[in-house]
């Protein structure tokens, strides 16, 4: 049984330290939180937007000074309200929650799409000192939406590191989905691990390619969340609770939930609906 630190679940209110625009629809918020500053790549927090909602967000980065960042895409009421907030405004934080990516050393392939880039950025930062090779494939609809491009370019300089961008409209890098270059990458080279996060149909595709090439695989999934501590059942996929047993799942686990993975989730009333 995993140890559960109840202290992490206590809601703390903290003020926003800084706000950074990443793309027309994506913004990064930084605030201080000692608990979340101890998070590992892949873990998430629950962010309370007072009077509006509380939503799960992946932890993008943590600083030595206890600063914690999240990157948020505007998609609905809560995220829009959050995008209107400024430095000095108060938000509530619970967490960190969930498991984290396992830390591998050999040859690594990372595939990210949309705001799924957030936990992967954190992961790259932690992996880089020890890896033998790291290839990062990132995808978006347009160049505007390719997140953390400059930062990643800087981090991935060097012979054993590579950044591959794909856009659906061809405005940057390879034209098409980020799964496009994968087939070739995976057949030409033997990787020790594939990590991915992004829209679930994309994850599913990457999973299938990794299965075909028999490469170890970990993906971060999203489901509706309420309690984030494994009680309410909102976030279940198969026998797993995404908030407690996830959000990171291995290929072995994903095979067990094949019927739901990439196709269905539970709605707020518990009914199974298409993704």
């Amino acid at each position: 049984m995993s140890a559960y630190r109840i202290a992490a679940n206590k809601l703390r209110t903290t003020s926003i330290l800084s706000v950074r625009t990443e793309s027309p629809t994506v913004t990064t918020f930084t605030f201080k939180d000692r608990e979340c500053a101890r998070a590992k790549p892949g873990q998430f927090l629950m962010l309370w937007i007072p009077g509006v909602d509380e939503i799960p967000l992946s932890i993008l980065d943590v600083g030595e000074d206890g600063a914690v960042s999240v990157t948020v895409k505007k998609v609905g009421e809560a995220t829009e309200a959050l995008h209107r907030m400024k430095a000095g405004d108060f938000v509530g934080v619970r967490g960190p929650f969930g498991n984290s990516f396992t830390r591998k050393k050999g040859k690594i392939l990372i595939v990210g799409g949309g705001t799924g880039m957030a936990p992967l950025w954190f992961l790259v930062k932690r992996l880089l000192p020890d890896v033998e090779r790291l290839v990062f494939v990132m995808g978006a609809k347009t160049e505007d939406e390719l997140l953390f491009m400059d930062g990643l370019k800087k981090m991935l300089i060097g012979g054993n590191r590579q950044l591959v961008a794909t856009t659906e409209d061809g405005s940057c890098g390879i034209t098409g989905l980020c799964t496009e270059p994968l087939d070739r990458l995976l057949t030409n080279e033997r990787f020790d691990m594939v990590y991915t996060c992004g829209p679930e149909p994309m994850i599913r595709k990457v999973f299938e390619l990794a299965e075909k090439c028999e490469v170890s695989f970990e993906a971060s999934l999203e489901r509706l969340m309420r309690c984030a501590i494994g009680l309410c059942g909102s976030c279940v996929i198969g026998k797993y609770r995404v908030c407690r047993d996830g959000p990171i799942f291995t290929s072995k686990q994903l095979r067990e939930v094949e019927a739901e993975f990439g196709s269905s989730k539970r709605d707020f009333d518990g009914k199974r609906i298409p993704l």
Binding site: L11, S15, D53, I55, G92, R226, L231, C232, D269
Partner: protein, 311 residues
Amino acid sequence: MAVIGSLGTDRLKVNLAGLKLNNPTMLASGILGYSAETLSSIVAGGAGAVVTKSVGFKPRKGYANPTVVQADFGLINAVGLPNPGISEFVREIREMKRLGVPLIVSVYGFSAEEYATVAKKAVGAGADALELNVSCPHVKETGSEIGQSPEVLAEVVGKVKAVVDRPVLVKLSPNVTDLVEIAEAAVRAGADGITAINTVRAMAIDVETAMPILSNKRGGLSGPAVKPIALRCVYDVYERVKVPIMGCGGVTDWRDAVEFFLAGASAVQIGTAIALKGPSVFRSVSRGVDAYLKKKGFRSVNEIVGLSHRS
């Protein structure tokens, strides 16, 4: 493995209004109770029976987040009874039949007729028993209103009993002046067992923003903070009714469970402790209870039910 063996000892077997349990621990309603697959991990964790999430006639989305907030010694929740409605839920019930432990479907409604309709469908799909949630502290017109009036409650229990042939448990709210009066009314109307208690009305306020934290403002407290209240409720009810009582509220280890048995409970339900200890909490509670019974020379958990009333 010795684990299974110890859970299977005769000392722990109980018969609750005809429901046969291998051990006297059950999952409380509303905790992971939507799907057969999640319940299977609860059964693997050693639960002697499971109670589903409360299900009503129509689907409900529940309240906006925050729906759960941590208090010092427990949780406050106002999830708002999210459920897919009985017509959808019967499919899950059919799958839950395969769990291998008694399946108790928790039912709520906005009228006696609704309770009866949902109860009938649940039994039709295979529920071994029903638990009527007449005590949800944060949804209007179900729960508090029904669980606070002996007359309305009696009507609900009567209508349900008239259409089902399975044991009917009634889950009581501590948010009443006289819990015993309500319990007696339920039993007179035909209830086969009493579950005590549901959550205690509570709230949380943030000092920076001067705002209530839960979107519904008010919620219900669960966990260790409510155990002394729940224990007193069980003790009081035991003095006046003859049907089995399920003790519920803050059970986290075997000692808590034994306290409930001594107060008069025939079984305990566990909810919040799962966040702390995981699904195996059922096994660790059962094992501890078994060791206690053995050490004290009791042959069955039944021998300690209500034992504290001697003095």
